[in-house]
Every structure is written in C-alpha cells, then in structure tokens.
Amino acid sequence: MERPIAFREDRCKGCALCMTVCPKEIITMSSRFNTSGYKVVEVRDEVMETCTSCAACALICPDYAISVWRKPARDKKGEVADVHYG
C-alpha cells in the first residue's frame, strides 16, 4: 500500500493539531499510548490513499512527528505544497 505519510509515534504527544489542519480529515486519534504515555494519532489504512501529501499536518506539528512523501503522480500535477515555501 502507498503510505505518503508516517507518524514517528515516539515523538507524537497526541496534541491533535494535525487533525485540525488536514484538508482530507484523515488523521484520527488512535487508542495506542507511546512510551511517554501519550496517546498517538494515526491515519488508518482505509483512508491512507486519500492523503495528498500536502504536508499541512507536518507544518503544524510542534513535535516533528510527521513525515510526508510526495506522491510521484501528484508531484507532476504540481498540486503538492512546496514545504520550503521560502
């Protein structure tokens, strides 16, 4: 399965900010705790495909817990945010 997004669960503090910015609303709170005792978020496999790699979640995450990869197809269409927005 394509996984354009991944969470570093040890970093996630469960703040849910990423959930509020995802245009696809695919990030949800899991029922897992990490070793620091925080509940972590997830993108369930069912909706993973929906991810546009827009990286909004990664931009808002205060804990650098989110990795996002471009979808080659979409890359071409230029729909992906340039996160170096410099």
Binding site: P4, A16, S53, C61, P62, P72, V83
Partner: protein, 260 residues
C-alpha cells in the same frame, strides 16, 4: 512510499531528538522555523544563539549552533556583547514574553534603539510558561493566570504590551513583524518573517524583530486544539499580525546562497 521524495524535510541544523515541550506547545514550531531559516540562509556555521530563560531555555539542545545562555531578560545585552566582539557572526536571541517584555524591557528597547545587527525571535504566549503560568506583560485583559487569579484587570495591571509596534517605532529597528503559527497559512507567513528578521541585520540595516504568537496549552489550561483556536479568536484581534516596519523592502540579501 517512504522511498518517494520527502514533501517535508526537517532542517539539518535542528537536532532530531524529542523536545521537552508540553503537547501542543508552539515553541516547537517556532524553533523549527528558526532552524529552517538558518539552513536556508546557510547560517549555521556562523550563527551564535543567545538562549534566554523560559521554557525555551533548552533551545541549545535543538539548534545545532554555538550558543550561550543569557540571564533572564538580558539576551539582547548578551547579543550586543557577542555581536560587538564578533561582528561577522549571525547573532540571534530567542526569548519569551516574560523575558523580553517584562524583566528585559530596557535591554530590548535599547538593543533595538541602538540598531544592533542582531535578530530577536520573540515568542509571545501571553504567560510565564516555565515558572508555571504567572501573568506576563502580554497577558490579555481578563485572562486568568496564577498571579492574576481573577483575570488581568486593566485598571490594576495595565493592558497587554504591544512590543512589535514599539520596536518598529525605534530608529534602530530595520524589520519588525508579528506573526502566528496557528494555521498553515500563518506558518508560511511566519517563516517569511523570520527569514527577513535574519536578513536585515546581515545586510547591516539594523535590528530584525519577529513576534510569534504562540500557545501555552498547559498554562492556559486548555487542550492544544482549544489553545490554538484562541490565537485567532482572542489574540490576533488585539495583537494584529503584519509587518510594522521593513526597511529591507528595497535591498535584498546578496550574501550566502539559499540552501536546497
């Protein structure tokens, strides 16, 4: 798909370790923006970071540059000493609102007025985070803190201080802006401002100053999401976002190559 090109890269100057901040604390975002600009302007080798006393005291654990810890409120004075001793360094402070606008008011005002060629990153979370949520000079009227338990009262404690406007009014500042990191759009704008605040002193134009409105969910006694919503709902109406001064508009940086 982990083999695809990354759509989001962490700057190399940012140590890839967990932070000590509370869940949802936007110090994490603010320090990442600083790191991104250091990388993009290729400053990490000549940067000197002046840490301040507040929740961000451990910033030196995250930014992989030469650093010194300033006493509470004195980062602008320490930065002055560093810059005058070593004019070729890219000197910046990272300070909270208690640090910069309360105990450090005189140092901040005079550093800006002298036009020291340094960058000040000012993280305004309207509260003393590290010490447990006391009133700050930027605490909103009505906001409850541990030292204004009935809510800040303008009559007794005065109104929240608008530092960016004041700094912009001083002769020595070259760039002064207020930004927020509560939305993706604001994060993008914030990044641009931080970059300009680094460029202005490097171009010998004067002091660069950015105020970043940020959350302190712990001491606001809110969830991170509620706290984040408060930024737009309560803070921005009083602390308007925008560039209050920019003498860099005409002259742009010629120096180091932009990374990437």
């Amino acid at each position: 798909m982990k083999n695809g090109k990354e759509a989001f890269t962490l700057p190399g100057v940012l140590a890839d370790i967990p932070t000590h901040y509370c869940p949802g604390c936007q110090h994490g975002v603010a320090q990442r923006l600083v790191a991104e600009c250091l990388d993009e302007l290729a400053l990490s080798e000549k940067a000197i970071c002046i840490g301040s006393i507040g929740c961000s005291v451990f910033i030196y654990n995250y930014l992989l540059v030469d650093s010194v810890e300033a006493p509470h409120g004195r980062a602008p004075a320490v930065a002055t000493g560093v810059k005058r001793a070593r004019p070729e360094a890219a000197v910046f402070t990272y300070q909270g609102d208690g640090d910069l606008a309360s105990i450090g008011m005189a140092e901040t005002m005079h550093c800006a007025n002298r036009g020291e060629r340094v960058t000040i990153i000012f993280v305004n979370n309207t509260v003393y985070g590290m010490t447990g949520g006391q009133m700050a000079p930027t605490t909103m009227v009505g906001q409850r803190t541990t030292t204004c338990p009935g809510g800040r009262c303008a009559d007794n404690e005065g109104q929240p201080i608008k530092m960016t406007e004041i700094i912009a009014s001083l002769g020595g500042s070259a760039y002064a802006a207020r930004v927020a990191v509560d939305s993706v759009k604001h994060v993008r704008a914030a990044k641009k401002a931080v970059r300009k605040a680094f460029e202005a002193p490097l171009n010998n134009l004067g002091l660069g100053f950015v105020e970043i409105l940020a959350t302190c969910p712990t001491n606001w006694k809110m969830t991170p999401v509620q706290a984040n919503e408060r930024i737009a709902a309560e803070l921005i109406p009083y602390f308007p976002l925008g560039t209050f001064k920019d003498v860099t508009e005409l002259e742009t940086i010629e120096g180091p190559e932009v990374a990437e």
